[in-house]
C-alpha cells in the first residue's frame, strides 16, 4: 500500500475497554479502528503521550492486531 505522507490524520477520540484489552481510536477521517491485546499500561502511556498519532504509529499500529469497525 502506498504510504501517503502528505495527508495528515489526527486522532479525534480514544476509548479503552480493560476487560477485553481493546483500544478504540477514531481518526479525523471519520474511520474507527479497534486495536486488540493492548495492556492498560500501554493505554496509559498513550494517553500521556504528547502526540497521540505519533505514539500510535510508533508503538501500536504495526505491533498489535487491529480491525476497522466503523
Amino acid at each position: 500500500m502506498m504510504r501517503d505522507t502528505v495527508a495528515s490524520t489526527t486522532v479525534t477520540s480514544i476509548g479503552y475497554d480493560e476487560p477485553t484489552q481493546t483500544l478504540e481510536v477514531e481518526f479525523s477521517s471519520g474511520s474507527i479502528y479497534q486495536y486488540y491485546n493492548i495492556t492498560a499500561f500501554l493505554y496509559e502511556q498513550l494517553m500521556q503521550a504528547p502526540s497521540k498519532g505519533q505514539f500510535l504509529h510508533a508503538n501500536i499500529r504495526n505491533a498489535y492486531p487491529y480491525s476497522r469497525v466503523g
Partner: protein, 615 residues
C-alpha cells in the same frame, strides 16, 4: 528534388491500394530533422507523413520501416542500406480543411514530407470548442493530441489495455481533461457516471465528483437501487429464481395487483391507472408480496363449504413471519388444503431468504426508497435520479467495490436500466439525455458484458451502444480483456483507445475493430509504454500514438494491490481468526466479535502531526 526543404523525407516508389512505399532520402541518415526549431524523429512507426499533390495534401501513418529495398518491387537493384518505409494513407487536406478518406492517389516520385506542428494544427483544426486535449504525440511532445468530445461521447469509445498498462490513469486523465483541470476551462456542466468496480477513483477524482458507495466512507453517500424500479421479470429472476410460466403468472399478477392498489390509493404523476403494467416503476412491498402469496399457498380450510380459513396465527409481513394454519387432514372432516395453490413455496422461500440476506440490502431494502406494506416510500425516483445525475459536480462515481460479485452484474444492469430509461423517456426535456448528454464509463466491462456474464447487464449496454447516440447517452467501455467483451458492443465503439496489450486474442479483437489498412499500427500494441495509447476512430482525426497526460500525484487512481514484500517481511503479530469469521458471517468488513460500547474521550487536535492515512 526539394532536398533543401528540411521536412523532405523521400519519394514514393510504389502505390498499392491505400498503402504507399517510400524510399527515404540519404540525407536523413541521422534520423533527426530540425524544422522551425523543433526536433522531429524521422521514420518512427506510427508517425505522420504528408504527400503534397497540387492543392491537396495527403496524410498517412508510417506502418513499417526497412533497411533493405522493398524486394517485391521490380526494377533496378537498389544498393544495400537504402531505407524504405510503408505508409498507410488516412486522409487528405485542402487548404485548412482535413477530411478522412482519399480522392486521389500519389504517384511514383511524388515527394513525401514529415508532418510538422503547423501541419498538425491544420489536421486538428486549431482550438475548436468541441476538441479536448488529452495528451501529447509520442513522437513530438510539444504537440497536443485533441479528440472531438462530441464524437467521443455520442459515438461511444473503448479504452483497452492489459493490467498495469495505465488504464485507470488514462481514464482518470481523460475524465479530468473533459471536466477541466482545476480552474481551467473545461466542461463544468458535464454529466458523467462512472461505475467504479475496484474503488480506485474516489481518491483520483474526488474533488470533482460525488461518490456513492454500498459501504460509504465518511463524506460519501450510500448507494441504493430500489428493486421496484426494475422490470418484473428481471426482479423475479433474482428474488425467486427460475419460474415456470404458471408460477411466473402467479407472481406477476400479484405484483400488478399491489401496484394498481398503490396507484389507486396515491396517484403518481404521469401514470394513468389504465396504462399501468407490471413493469411500471411503481413502489410495492416485497414483504407484502411474499406474505400474501405464502398465505394463499399454505391456507387450509374447514367447514361444509371448505371456505372457513383454519388460521392459527396471522404471522407478520414486516418481520417475514409466515401465517400458520391447522395442518390439513385426510377424510371428510378437514381441514382441507387450498386446491388453487400455485406450487410456488420453494420460490417464496428463496424470496424470504433474499429479503433476509444483508448482502442485498442496497437493492431490496433501499433506505428511504423502501416502500412500506402499502407501497408508500418516503422518497420517489426523482430524488434518486437527482442524487445521481443532478448535482453541482460534473462527475458521479458509483463505488461498487463492496458489492459481492454474485450480484455485481445484476446491480450494474439495474443501475444502467434505471438511468437509461429515465433519460430515454425524458429526451424532450431539458434534463433528458439529448439536451444534457450523459457519458457512462464502464470499468472492468468484461466482468458484466461478456457472453458468460449472462444478459442482465449486456442487454442494456447493448441498447446504449446501439441507440444511445440518438438519446444522448454515450458509453465508454474500459476493459483489460477485449476478447471477452460482447462483439456487438465493441464494434459500436467509434473510438478505440488502445493501451499496451500483450494477449494475442485481445490484440486480434482490437485489430478486427479497426479498418484493415491501419492494423499495422496495432502491431505496436505490445510495445507501448505505460500510459501510451494508440487512438483511432471517430473522435481522432488521424490514428495517433499518444502519451496521455499524467495526472498530478494526488490525482492518481489508488492502486489497491497489497504490498506483498513489506507485509511478509514483518513478523506476524497475534492473529484472531474469530474476528475473520465474525466478519464473514456478518457479511460486513467492520464486524467485531464482541460488541463493545467503548466511551471515547475527545482528543484536542494537535498541530503538525503526521500519520499515514491507512492507520
Amino acid at each position: 528534388m526539394a532536398s533543401s526543404d528540411p521536412s523532405y523525407l523521400g519519394v514514393v516508389t510504389a502505390v498499392s491500394g491505400s498503402s504507399v512505399t517510400v524510399k527515404l532520402s540519404e540525407s536523413l541518415a541521422s534520423g533527426i530533422a530540425i524544422i522551425g526549431g523543433h526536433t522531429y524523429r524521422v521514420g518512427q512507426v506510427g508517425s505522420f507523413v504528408r504527400i503534397p499533390l497540387g492543392y491537396q495534401d495527403l496524410f498517412g501513418v508510417v506502418a513499417e520501416i526497412g533497411a533493405s529495398a522493398a524486394q517485391s518491387t521490380p526494377g533496378p537493384k537498389v544498393a544495400y542500406g537504402d531505407r524504405w518505409m510503408r505508409v498507410e494513407l488516412a486522409g487528405e487536406a485542402i487548404g485548412n480543411h482535413f477530411e478522412r478518406g482519399l480522392s486521389q492517389h500519389p504517384n511514383i516520385d511524388d515527394t513525401v514530407h514529415i508532418v510538422t506542428e503547423s501541419d498538425l494544427r491544420r489536421i486538428y483544426g486549431g482550438q475548436d470548442e468541441n476538441q479536448v486535449s488529452i495528451g501529447t504525440l509520442s513522437s513530438a511532445e510539444n504537440i497536443d493530441v485533441r479528440l472531438s468530445l462530441d464524437a467521443l461521447v455520442t459515438r461511444h469509445s473503448a479504452i483497452l489495455g492489459s493490467t498495469g498498462s495505465g488504464k485507470s490513469t488514462t481514464v482518470a486523465s481523460i475524465l479530468r481533461s473533459i471536466v477541466g483541470h482545476g480552474g481551467e476551462a473545461g466542461s463544468p456542466g458535464a454529466r458523467i457516471l462512472l461505475l467504479d468496480i475496484h474503488g480506485e477513483y474516489a481518491s483520483a477524482l474526488g474533488d470533482v465528483a460525488k461518490i456513492f458507495s454500498t459501504t460509504p466512507q465518511p463524506g460519501e453517500c450510500p448507494l441504493y437501487v430500489p428493486y421496484w424500479a426494475l422490470e418484473a421479470g428481471e426482479l423475479l429472476e433474482f428474488v425467486a429464481g427460475g419460474l415456470s410460466d404458471n408460477q411466473l403468472i402467479a407472481f406477476t399478477d400479484k405484483i400488478q395487483d399491489l401496484k394498481s392498489e398503490r396507484l389507486a390509493a396515491l396517484p403518481l404523476p404521469g401514470l394513468q391507472p389504465q396504462s399501468l403494467t407490471v413493469d411500471s416503476p411503481v413502489p410495492f412491498s416485497l414483504r407484502r408480496l411474499w406474505y400474501d402469496l405464502i398465505d394463499f399457498e399454505t391456507a387450509t380450510f374447514t367447514g361444509p363449504q371448505r371456505d372457513q380459513p383454519a388460521l392459527v396465527s396471522a404471522g407478520d409481513a414486516n418481520v417475514l413471519e409466515p401465517p400458520s394454519y391447522t395442518p390439513h387432514a385426510m377424510g371428510n372432516a378437514g381441514p382441507f388444503l387450498n386446491t388453487a395453490a400455485k406450487g410456488i413455496r420453494r420460490q417464496l422461500n428463496l424470496l424470504r431468504s433474499r429479503l433476509l440476506d444483508r448482502r442485498f440490502d442496497f437493492i431490496l431494502h433501499p433506505g428511504p426508497w423502501e416502500p412500506d406494506l402499502e407501497g408508500v416510500a418516503e422518497q420517489d425516483l426523482d430524488t434518486l435520479l437527482a442524487n445521481w445525475l443532478g448535482h453541482d459536480k460534473p462527475l458521479t462515481i458509483l463505488d461498487l467495490s463492496g458489492v459481492p460479485s454474485a450480484v455485481l452484474v445484476r446491480l450494474i444492469g439495474s443501475i444502467l436500466r434505471i438511468v437509461y430509461e429515465a433519460l430515454f423517456w425524458s429526451r424532450e426535456k431539458t434534463e433528458g439525455g439529448v439536451l444534457r448528454p450523459l457519458l457512462v464509463v464502464m470499468e472492468e466491462a468484461h466482468r458484466y458484458i461478456s457472453p458468460d456474464a449472462g444478459n442482465v447487464a449486456s442487454d442494456v449496454v447493448r441498447r446504449i451502444a446501439k441507440e444511445g447516440r440518438k438519446y444522448g447517452v454515450g458509453a465508454m467501455v474500459v476493459s483489460q480483456r477485449p476478447s471477452e467483451i460482447d462483439e456487438t458492443i465493441l464494434s459500436q465503439c467509434g473510438t478505440l483507445i488502445a493501451l499496451r496489450l500483450s494477449n494475442p486474442a485481445d490484440r486480434a479483437r482490437v485489430k478486427g475493430a479497426l479498418p484493415d489498412n491501419l492494423s499495422g499500427l496495432m502491431d505496436l500494441l505490445p510495445v507501448l509504454r505505460t500510459g501510451e495509447a494508440i487512438i483511432a476512430g471517430e473522435a481522432a482525426r488521424l490514428p495517433v500514438r499518444t502519451r496521455v497526460f499524467l495526472p498530478r500525484q494526488e490525482h492518481l487512481p489508488k492502486s489497491s494491490d497489497p504490498e506483498v514484500t513489506s507485509a511478509w517481511s514483518k513478523r506476524r503479530v497475534a492473529e484472531g481468526y474469530d474476528r475473520v469469521v465474525a466478519s464473514w458471517r456478518a457479511q460486513r468488513t467492520t464486524a467485531v466479535v464482541n460488541q463493545l460500547a467503548i466511551d471515547r474521550v475527545q482528543i484536542p487536535p494537535e498541530n503538525g502531526e503526521q500519520m499515514p492515512d491507512d492507520a
